[in-house]
Symmetry: C2
Subunit: 466 residues, 2 copies
């Protein structure tokens, strides 16, 4: 008994803290790698979670990271591999001996295994599939057939499933069979004799009833599910809306095929968000990953060049009115203000709509609601900004009319920006494009052209009195 | 036996589908509300999840929504209330009789109850706290003491907790006690005699062992936890990094106080995303919520007006060089291009850094890494854009020197944008500001000023040869 109490004492005194990966720790590890002190490195790593080991490896040179990786036991290494950044994982996957690769992939849940195989060359992936456990291999091959951005592409095959005539005892047995190798079991799914999903029972419900109770008596029949072809963004919305942690995936005939868990959805949400931000600022979502500057420049260049060409249209408009400009050169001073503010207003409206469409708050069939709301908003913003800039313009130029020209131009172009910024993403969506794409620099460039055209046309018309 | 088989048949034939809330359904419901057909309304609603009922109510006028809400039984109504949009919830909370409010809040988990009480007036919240069950009331009062954006503010008090000397049987009893009223139980937490968190056991592990096994023998002692004062954004990062569904929250002395579940974290992630996007386009995150256009205009105006004033600096720069401009008016045509591209490059860099800081991919103590990477990128982008615009400029103006002026100006201002866009968010963060705030229109306005200044200064210096 003394021994047990001591054990308890010790556990209580050493609650494990999250270890911060700081410069000091990194230096220690680099020194240990250089001196090849395997035992000491392992000693540090065994106190860490796989995600933290990956974090450390990401900060090492690929060669050093490879050295550390070789020391880690397989069941940890397979998790570390999934948490590494692209550059480090690519390197390891390329240099790792084939048998080791097969072992690591074999340790993974089927969805993760499919992701890793997707990153390998076709020949290499084939060898892994041939050398791994037959059952795992067929699961992974099934998953590889689905588009990676759909429910089928992110689901895993590891599910606890029983027939509706089975008892709780049998359901518990199904959980036990899985539980030794897999985490993330939250539900037992219930199917009929032909494999159609008819219900689900959460583990906590499983604990509530007597072991001989039959599943169909206690299962919820109103279980939410998706088919394999549903887009991952929609899947994420289902998780968010219904506050669930696990979602069964079926084929069109409602046959149960797999399940998606919330930890994967958290990643999907991040991915979709990065895509939106990237489009808003005119860039590629992949850039958010760690890539070489040359690669990033190549990803960005198309966007920048398109913006450049669109802005040239604004340049042509200016050129068209250069007589007006050279007569009242102060107009040039107001060009940056007008184009920046209308660009900004358009981008704001577009961003709201992109978010609204993604979260389902905006119903595209009732497009007039956001447009009308936006117009009410820009009428107020336009009046205030128009008055401010009009007053400044009038005082600066020393004439009421000049103030009116800049003020009214500002007012009109802010309102147009609002309406165009609101409707463009909805039209894109209706036409089947990603609404986030039109939101970014295109919107800004378009508003620049509109703003400057209105301003200079208006000024030219009233030129004789300016 | 026939009866049971029939039951199974029926369940299998009617797997519940997600009901789409379309215009037709909405019209039906509006008609039924008008004709006060309570029974038929309830008949539709009872097939729906609370989130879908909330969705329908959000599309009704507040008066009609109130009518529907009164029909719903309390245990569903409490969930619906949490899913409503701000405008509808505000209305219901204002008009609902006090006893009903107390009952609904009593049905909620402590974290949700605290959220709702936070939206009530102080007097109203006090009455609810006084009239509800004493135990619930003290839980909620404890939660109300924490800042709402911290782990303490989002945690719930409903946890299954046992002493480390207890057996699995006792742990299952603890789960059963909670499970009837609360969903989202994934772990049993283990504490020592003074309440210090020493371990955790997932429900699936609980199913693996014999009922008389003691908790300290099977618990994981390396359980990840946070203290109440940790910011919710950091909490979300912990969930993401370690792929967990439930996180215990302790005080500084490691005493277990509550737990956060992943469904709340999904909301936190959304919130933080909306904040980032809103700042990027120069707006307020609250705008994403359904608010009146007047309110939205008021939220946006400060940002727009600040941008307007900053852009005036660009206007002053133009004014300073108006002699140059009036001599070579074609320069005015290139102003929009140069300012848009440098504004865009700066915003891209800033957006990457804001994301990197939020996800922890960028370590502010090693600031030179992203700055150097960004500079390598912009050297390439700048060269390409500079060459393109230089060639166009040279051809258009019919002189090599003009092309050189616009090309080199473009090159320099793109590189400055990249460095400034990268360092500004990191400096803001270091100074304790939200890095997302400086990313938006400020960045664009700043780059406008820089771009135009470089361009016109350069052109003025070379004016005699243009």
């Amino acid at each position: 008994m003394l021994e047990q109490d001591e054990y308890i004492e010790e556990a209580a005194q050493n609650p494990r803290e999250l270890i911060e990966v700081d410069d000091e720790l990194m230096e220690d590890i680099e020194d240990l790698v250089r001196s090849k002190s395997d035992f000491l490195i392992l000693n540090i790593l065994q106190d860490l979670y796989p995600a933290d080991i990956a974090h450390i490896m990401n900060r090492l040179e690929t060669k050093e990271a490879e050295y550390v990786f070789k020391l880690i036991p397989n069941e940890v290494a397979s998790e570390v591999l999934l948490d590494l950044d692209d550059a480090h994982r690519e390197y390891l996957l390329r240099t790792m001996p084939q048998p080791k690769l097969t072992e690591l992939v074999g340790e993974m849940d089927s969805d993760d295994a499919a992701d890793i195989l997707g990153e390998l060359s076709d020949e290499k992936a084939e060898v892994v599939l041939e050398t791994m456990n037959v059952e795992d291999s067929s699961d992974v091959q099934e998953l590889l057939r689905y588009d990676e951005n759909t429910a089928g592409g992110i689901m895993a095959k590891e599910i606890a499933v029983v027939n509706q005539k089975d008892t709780i005892k049998q359901a518990i047995r199904a959980v036990r069979k899985l539980a030794k190798e897999h985490k993330n079991i939250y539900h037992v799914y219930v199917v009929d004799d032909v494999g159609v999903l008819v219900g689900a029972v959460s583990l906590q419900e499983l604990l509530l009833y007597a072991p001989n109770k039959r599943m169909h008596k206690l299962m919820s029949t109103d279980v939410i599910s998706v088919t394999t072809d549903v887009d991952q963004e929609e899947v994420a919305q289902v998780f968010k809306k219904y506050d669930i942690v696990s979602l069964p995936v079926t084929d069109k005939a409602h046959k149960l095929l797999g399940r998606i868990t919330v930890d994967d959805i958290v990643d999907v949400l991040e991915e979709e968000h990065e895509e939106d931000v990237a489009h808003l600022v005119g860039s590629d979502a992949e850039e958010m990953e760690k890539r070489s500057p040359a690669k990033i420049a190549m990803l960005r260049l198309p966007w920048v060049l398109i913006t450049l060409l669109l802005e040239f249209v604004a340049g042509l408009v200016v050129h068209h009115y250069d007589k007006t400009l050279s007569q009242v050169i102060l107009l040039a001073s107001f060009m940056p203000v007008i184009s920046a503010i209308s660009g900004n207003t358009g981008l704001q409206s577009a961003a709201m709509i992109v978010r609204g469409l993604a979260t389902g708050h905006i119903d595209i069939n009732r497009w007039w609601i956001p447009v009308w709301r936006q117009l009410q908003t820009t009428l107020i913003i336009g009046s205030v900004c128009g008055s401010v800039i009009g007053a400044i313009g009038g005082l600066w130029h020393g004439g009421l009319l000049f103030g009116l020209v800049v003020g009214i131009s500002m007012f009109i172009s802010i309102n147009i920006s609002g309406v165009v910024g609101t409707s463009t993403p909805m039209i894109s969506k209706r036409l089947g494009f990603d609404p986030a794409i039109t939101a970014g620099p295109f919107e800004t460039a378009f508003q620049d052209v509109v703003g400057i055209t209105i301003f200079l046309t208006f000024a030219t018309l009233l030129l004789r009195w300016l």
